[in-house]
């Protein structure tokens, strides 16, 4: 046949377009929001889409979220649209497979690690706010949902690793967003800080009481050294800002409310330990993923989800809280 090559190649190309169009047209629209008086919120650092063995396999994250069935998920390290991260869209993939609305957060070119939001409720007034950052650029994302006839503001973030970045970012969020919020508010994320980190300290704190694990000392001492080097404690004292303790004066710490005495709880761990590889025993697991809610809410439950999937999925475990807005008398 004279034109056999042209016909074969053209037919193959047309089949590709047909497959794309068919797939897009078959995708179901997002289901209506649930009619519940409870709101299950989750914060989950999804490790840039890699499971703990180093493979790109988002199915394990999907299963972790599916089993917990949250209404709202704040994601960190969600940016995967890069050659180093296999160029797929983790947020879109999860949102499609979970049938949830999504807000992607900062554009890839902003060069952050990604902060995103998945929700069973439609999202409005979405915004990405750059945070004061000396090291990696960090952001706070915000969105509003309609829950039980009221607007609820959701904030998600992933804070910096250095003490200075974390201090400035936590303080800025509290002063500029939380204190100025007029709506019932949920604030959650990978804050890279423990509940007991105190920025106002310039000397060794009373950390050797029974609640402290000795292997936490290394991390605490490193933080204190940076705190002293950069004089952060002076700034913190002048601003009367301790850290999450100051947040607790304004917001409700979901985990602390339900589990007030649980010093060994953790949401981040060394993945080498999970894989049975040699690991740094002085790098202890810590609770650095937090959910805070405004006093409008009542916290009904809080849990750290540790199971077969979450332990192999990420170096962070998902933290989840169930909250409700008490009915007006």
């Amino acid at each position: 046949m004279r034109y056999r090559s042209e016909i074969v190649v053209t037919v193959v190309a047309l089949l590709c377009v047909a497959a794309i169009v068919l797939h897009l047209s078959q995708r179901s629209s997002t289901t209506p929001p649930p009619h519940s008086n409870r709101l299950a919120v989750m914060t989950y650092n999804i490790h840039q889409g890699f499971d703990n063995s180093g493979k790109v396999d988002p199915r394990v994250f999907l299963r972790s979220i599916q089993k917990a069935n949250p209404d709202i998920v704040g994601l960190q390290e969600s940016e995967s649209n890069r050659p180093a991260l296999a160029n797929y869209d983790l947020v879109r993939w999860l949102a499609t497979n979970l049938d949830m609305y999504s807000y992607y957060g900062p554009a890839t070119k902003e060069q952050t690690y990604g902060v995103a939001l998945l929700s069973k409720y439609p999202l409005k007034d979405v915004t990405t706010i750059p945070l004061p950052s000396i090291e990696d650029p960090r952001v706070l994302i915000g969105a509003t949902i309609a829950f039980q006839g009221k607007d609820v503001r959701i904030f998600v973030t992933h804070l910096g690793l250095s003490v200075e970045d974390r201090y400035e970012q936590l303080r800025w969020i509290l002063e500029e967003q939380i204190k100025k919020a007029t709506l019932p508010t949920v604030f959650m994320g990978d804050l890279n800080t423990t509940g007991d980190e105190d920025f106002t300290l310039d000397g060794t704190p009373a950390i050797l009481n029974d609640d402290w694990y000795p292997n936490r000392l290394k991390g605490v001492r490193e933080r204190l050294a940076e705190n002293q080097d950069k004089g952060i404690y002076r700034r913190a004292r002048n601003a009367h800002f301790q850290g999450l303790a100051t947040y607790r004066a304004i917001l409700t710490d979901a985990w602390q409310t339900i589990h007030p005495n649980s010093p060994s709880a953790y949401s981040w761990f060394d993945t080498n330990e999970a894989l049975g590889r040699p690991y740094d025993k002085l790098l202890p697991p810590e609770l650095i993923d937090h959910i805070f809610v405004s006093k409008d809410f009542q916290v009904l439950d809080a849990k750290i989800i540790k199971d077969r999937d979450t332990i192999v999925a990420s170096d962070h475990l998902p933290v989840m809280a169930t909250i409700e807005l008490p009915r007006a008398p």
Partner: protein, 405 residues
């Protein structure tokens, strides 16, 4: 449609084989690089797995194999690619993950120079304008296949997660996709083998003349081009995360544009027109606009124009290796140009990574905030070079068409 002579063989199996092998190379490269990134920079340090990147220098392995019958080389390396790609769809245990992707990359790096040399040697036996038609159509099809598989997997390539890895309930088992693809490749490989055996008297790698060729500029420019292709140009879903846009719109516009290009490429008149300098200038300006829109302007036009920009990029890819082939299509020059291209791409890949994790690598501050400027500069460089090569390539293609006629 071009006028054809019934006695000359149909070349579709060459086009489709190259397209599918390119697809497998893109897939393996993507997974391979991501795994090495995880093993190294996510831990904010380097591990020995970084040495795996040396497999990208494997086109050099073809040097000692120059005297071997290329038809055998094509068959062997093609079989290795298919076998490991199929195996990867069956079993993706982490310990083997890097290894089977590495095999695909090594085999393709040997396959490609051998394929191009054979193909150019065969050109007189094929129909007029077969080289530009097939050599541009193949990468365009490869990108289209890749976009299709990513779409069917909801942005994740659904052929790369092995069925024996942890059981998932959301993806079609990849074997049902991988198996027919691999079967098709095996058929094309066999068909090509038969054609080459029949048509080429000497299957040794042919050197057209003793003319030395500089591969430096085409090689480096090809590396620049790969950077843009893998960074965002080859991924409509990624582009609409770098700049505002709608995923379905970007996807449909890009796929339809690529199909239109493939259909147009089957016409000799269109192919001849494509290599006019004025046409190349316009196409490259579209491409440059999309790059600038993604990096700086954010007008939202990138989602509509991405297909055109991608088409222009893939034509530029052809212009670069054609610029080498038009002087001399000896295998050693293809090896040099691809090695240079991959090495350049790897350097720029590290730049893109360091511009993200600059706070955690020594000297990373040099890359802070520089990504857009660097991408703009390399884009202007390779687009200018491709326009400058257009005249040389056009003259060569006319000569080839004359020989074929």
């Amino acid at each position: 449609m071009s006028t054809a002579e019934p006695t000359k063989p149909n070349y579709y199996s060459f086009t489709l084989a190259l397209a599918l092998f390119m697809l497998m190379f893109f897939q393996s490269t993507r997974q391979f690089i991501a795994t090495i990134y995880y093993e190294n920079l996510t831990g904010m340090g380097f591990s020995p797995t970084i040495l795996y990147l040396l497999v990208f220098l494997s086109p050099l392995l073809m040097f000692p194999m120059r005297a071997i019958n290329v038809n055998i080389v094509l068959l062997l390396t093609g079989s290795v690619i298919v076998a490991h790609r199929l195996y990867g769809s069956l079993d993706s245990e982490a310990s083997l993950y890097l290894i089977f992707h590495a095999f695909v990359i090594v085999a393709f790096s040997i396959y490609l120079p051998a394929f191009l040399t054979t193909y150019y040697s065969l050109s007189a036996k094929l129909r007029r304008y077969t080289i530009p038609v097939a050599a541009i159509t193949a990468p365009v099809l490869a990108v289209l296949f890749d976009i299709t598989l990513n779409t069917l997997g909801n942005t994740l390539d659904l052929t790369v997660v092995g069925i024996t890895s942890r059981t998932g309930n959301t993806l079609v088992h990849p074997i049902f996709i991988s198996l027919p693809i691999c079967a098709a490749v095996v058929y094309f490989l066999y068909r090509n083998h038969v054609i080459v055996k029949k048509e080429l008297i000497s299957s040794r790698t042919v050197q057209r003349s003793g003319v030395p060729v500089s591969t430096l500029v085409p090689g480096i420019c090809m590396g620049f081009l790969f950077t843009n292709l893998f960074l965002f140009m080859g991924y409509p879903g990624v582009v609409v995360r770098w700049t505002p846009g709608s995923y379905p719109v970007a996807l449909c516009c890009t796929a339809v544009t690529l199909v239109i290009l493939i259909v147009l490429l089957q016409s000799k008149t269109i192919v001849e027109a494509l290599f006019k300098t004025a046409v190349q200038v316009v196409l490259n300006l579209v491409q440059l606009f999309v790059v600038l829109d993604v990096l700086y302007f954010d007008t939202g036009l990138a989602q509509y124009l991405l297909g055109g920009a991608l088409a222009s990029l893939l034509i530029d890819l052809f212009l670069f290796y054609q610029a080498v082939a038009s002087k001399n299509y000896s295998i050693q020059f293809f090896i040099r140009v691809f090695t240079l291209a991959i090495a350049t791409y790897l350097l720029l890949f590290f730049m893109t990574v360091f511009s993200l994790v600059w706070a955690h690598v020594p000297g990373g501050i040099l890359f802070k905030g520089r990504l857009p400027a660097i991408i703009t500069l390399i884009s202007i460089a390779y687009m200018t070079a491709s326009v400058l090569y257009t005249g040389r390539v056009r003259a060569f293609l006319k000569m080839q068409a004359g020989v074929a006629a």
